[in-house]
Amino acid sequence: MSVLEVRNLSIDYVREDGAALRAVEEVGFTLEKGRSLGLVGESGCGKTTAILGILRLLPAQGRIVSGEVLYKGTDLFSLSEGEMRKYRWKHISIVFQGSMNALNPVRQVGRQIADAIQLHEPANDSGQVEARVHHLLDLVGITPQRSGHYPHQYSGGMRQRAMIAMALACSPDILIADEPTTALDVMIQAQILDLLQKLQKELALSIIMVTHDLGVVAEMCDDVLVMYGGRTAEYASVDTIFNDAQHPYTRRLLQAFPDVANPSSKLASIPGYPPPLDALPRGCRFEPRCHRKRAICAEQIPALEAIRPGHYVACPFREDNDGA
C-alpha cells in the first residue's frame, strides 16, 4: 500500500519583481510502506524545495503551482493550514539539512523533543512525556541523562541523532531525511545511516532520503528519483539505476562517483553547472551539458516515459536506444 503519492508537483519561486521561477516541475513518485526513496541530484536542482513543498513549508516566496500530495488518500494540499499542522510530524516528520542548527540553542534538547509530543498529544501527563523522551533518546543512542542539556553541549553527531529522535517522537509513518549525513565525518555518517536502517525495520518507517551522495542511496534506498533542473530525469529501483541507468545525466552522475572495483579509474565530472532558475533552457534542462544531445533537445522538453514497468526516463535518446 502506498503511504505517500506525489503527482505532478510544480513549485515556483516568485521574485521581488514578480517574475515566477520554476524550481520544481511535474515531479511525481510513490512511496510504499516500509520502503525508502532516494531523491538525488546536484545542488540547486529542487530536491529540498520539493520536500518543503510536500510539507507545505515553503518560504514566503514559494508557490505551489500544481500537483497533489496524497497521504493515505488525503490530499495534503486541500487541507486548511490548521489541519495541515496536525499532519506535520504526527504523520510526516523531517530531519532537516544541517539539522544540527535545527535545535533551538536556548532550550534543553529534552524539552524540545517533549514540545513535539505535547503539540500532538496534549493528553499525556508530563511523566509520560518524559519517559517517552528518554525512550527516544535511548533509541538513538543518547543517554537519557543528557536530555536536560542544551544543544551546544552536544557534539554534531549527537545533535543529528537528537533530531532523528525528535523526528520519531510522534511515531510518524514517513520520515523525510534531507541530507542527514552531510557535514558529518564518515564514522558518524555510517552510524546515522545504520541507525536509520535499524529504525526503519523496527518501526516500519517509509523514508524519503534527499541526498547528493550516491553511496548513501545505494546503501539505504529501494527506489531512486534523479532530479535535474527541477524535473525528473529518471525514476527507477535502486538496482536499475546503478546497473541500467538510461538517462545521460544519471550515467554521468554515476561516473562521477568513485568505483570500489576500479579505484584507479579517473572520475568523470560533468562540465558546467545546473541551469539557473531564471535562465532555464527551453528544451531539455540537461541539454547544454549533455554529451548525447541532438538538435531537437534544445527545442522540446522530453516527456517522462515508462520504458518498462517501474523504470521512467525523460530522454528519447537513451543510452540503450539511439532514438528514432
Binding site: 499542522r85 523531517i94 542548527n101 533551538n104 514540545d115 553541549q153 533530531m163
Partner: protein, 318 residues
C-alpha cells in the same frame, strides 16, 4: 530561565550596573516609604507668617521652605512616587506595545510590516515634545493622561529594535523545524522568537523608564503636569517661576538633582544590560583582559572569567 540567570550574574560583575542598581533602589525605597520618611505632609495647608516663605534650610526644615511655606524635603520625597509611577507604568506600556508591534511586523513581514513601520517612521519624524504638548493641552492635565501620552508615543524605537532582531531570528533553522513539528505561528512567536529578543527588550525597558521620567519632568516643568500632585518637574516649575528671583537655591536644586540621580541610575543599569545582551556591543571573549594577561605573563588569573571557563567546558562536553 537559564538566560535570565546568566544575565543577572554578568550584571552583578559590572560595577556600573551595581552602582546604577543601588541608585535606583534608594529612590524606590524613598518612594515606597514616603509617608514615614517625610517630616511633613507636602499637601498640608499651613499658616505661615511672611518670613517663612522661601525660608532657607534650618534644623527643622532641612531643605528649607517653598514659596508657600511648605517643606521642600517632604515634597521631594513624595515627588519620587510620581516620577517612579509615571516612569514604570509608561515604560511598561510603551515596551509592551513596541515589542508586540515589532514581533508581529518582523515575523509576519509583508504588508503588516510595511504599514506598522510607516507608522513608526511617522511618529519618529514628528518632534515628540510639541506633539505631547498639543495632546495634553487638548486632553487636559492629569497623571494618567501623562502616562498614556508617554506610553503611546514612546514605543517606536522598541518596535524597530525588536523587529530587526526578529528578522534575523525568524530565518534561523529551528524556526522552520518548529513549523515542521506542527507548531502554530503564535506558538513560534511566543516560544521561540520572543525569548531571543527578550534580553534586548529588557535593556530597552530600563532605558525607557528613565526616558519617561525625564519626559514627565519636562511636561510638568512646562506646566502641564498633574496639578493635584507634587512632582519633581512641578517643583522645578514653581521654583523657576517664583524662587529664582529670590535666589532660593534650596527650592530649585534638589528636584533637579533628584531627576539627574534617578535617570543616571537607570541609564547605568540600562547601558550595562545592553552591553551584556547586545551582541554588537560585546567584545570577543579572547579580549577579556585577565585572559590576555595570562597569555602574555603566563600566570593564570586567580579566578577565570566565567564566560571563558564556561565555553571551555562546553567544548570539552562537545
Amino acid at each position: 530561565m537559564q538566560q535570565l540567570g546568566e544575565i543577572g550574574r554578568a550584571f552583578l560583575r559590572r560595577p556600573t550596573g551595581i552602582i546604577g542598581l543601588i541608585m535606583l533602589l534608594v529612590v524606590v525605597f524613598v518612594a515606597v516609604s514616603a509617608p514615614w520618611l517625610a517630616p511633613y505632609d507636602p499637601q498640608e495647608k499651613v499658616d505661615v507668617d511672611p518670613g517663612d516663605l522661601l525660608a532657607p534650610p534650618d534644623s527643622q526644615y532641612l531643605l528649607g521652605r517653598d514659596d508657600a511655606g511648605k517643606d521642600v524635603l517632604s515634597q521631594l520625597i513624595y515627588g519620587a512616587r510620581v516620577s517612579l509611577t509615571v516612569g514604570f507604568v509608561a515604560a511598561f506600556m510603551s515596551i509592551v506595545i513596541g515589542t508586540t508591534v515589532g514581533l508581529i511586523a518582523g515575523y509576519r513581514g509583508g504588508r503588516i510590516d510595511n504599514l506598522s513601520m510607516r507608522i513608526v517612521d511617522f511618529l519618529l519624524v514628528i518632534p515628540e515634545l510639541p506633539l505631547m504638548l498639543v495632546l495634553i493641552s487638548m486632553w487636559g492635565r492629569g497623571l494618567w493622561k501623562i502616562i498614556l501620552v508617554i506610553g503611546l508615543l514612546g514605543w517606536t524605537i522598541t518596535a524597530r529594535l525588536v523587529r530587526s532582531q526578529v528578522l534575523s531570528i525568524k530565518e534561523r533553522h529551528y524556526i522552520v523545524r518548529a513549523r515542521a513539528i506542527g507548531a502554530s505561528h503564535y506558538r513560534i512567536a511566543t516560544q521561540h522568537v520572543f525569548p531571543q529578543v527578550m534580553p534586548i527588550v529588557l535593556a530597552q525597558a530600563v532605558l525607557a523608564v528613565s526616558g519617561a521620567i525625564i519626559t514627565e519632568s519636562t511636561l510638568s516643568f512646562l506646566g502641564l503636569g498633574d496639578p493635584t500632585l507634587v512632582s519633581w518637574g512641578m517643583m522645578l516649575n514653581f521654583a523657576f517661576e517664583r524662587a529664582i528671583s529670590r535666589r532660593a537655591w534650596w527650592f530649585l536644586l534638589p528636584p533637579g538633582f533628584a531627576i539627574v540621580w534617578v535617570s543616571v541610575g537607570l541609564i547605568l543599569i540600562g547601558r550595562t544590560l545592553e552591553e551584556i545582551v547586545n551582541p554588537s556591543l560585546k567584545t570577543h571573549h579572547l579580549f577579556d583582559p585577565r585572559q590576555m594577561m595570562a597569555r602574555f605573563v603566563g600566570i593564570a588569573p586567580k579566578e577565570p572569567a566565567p564566560e571563558v571557563s564556561k565555553r571551555v567546558e562546553t567544548e570539552r562536553a562537545g
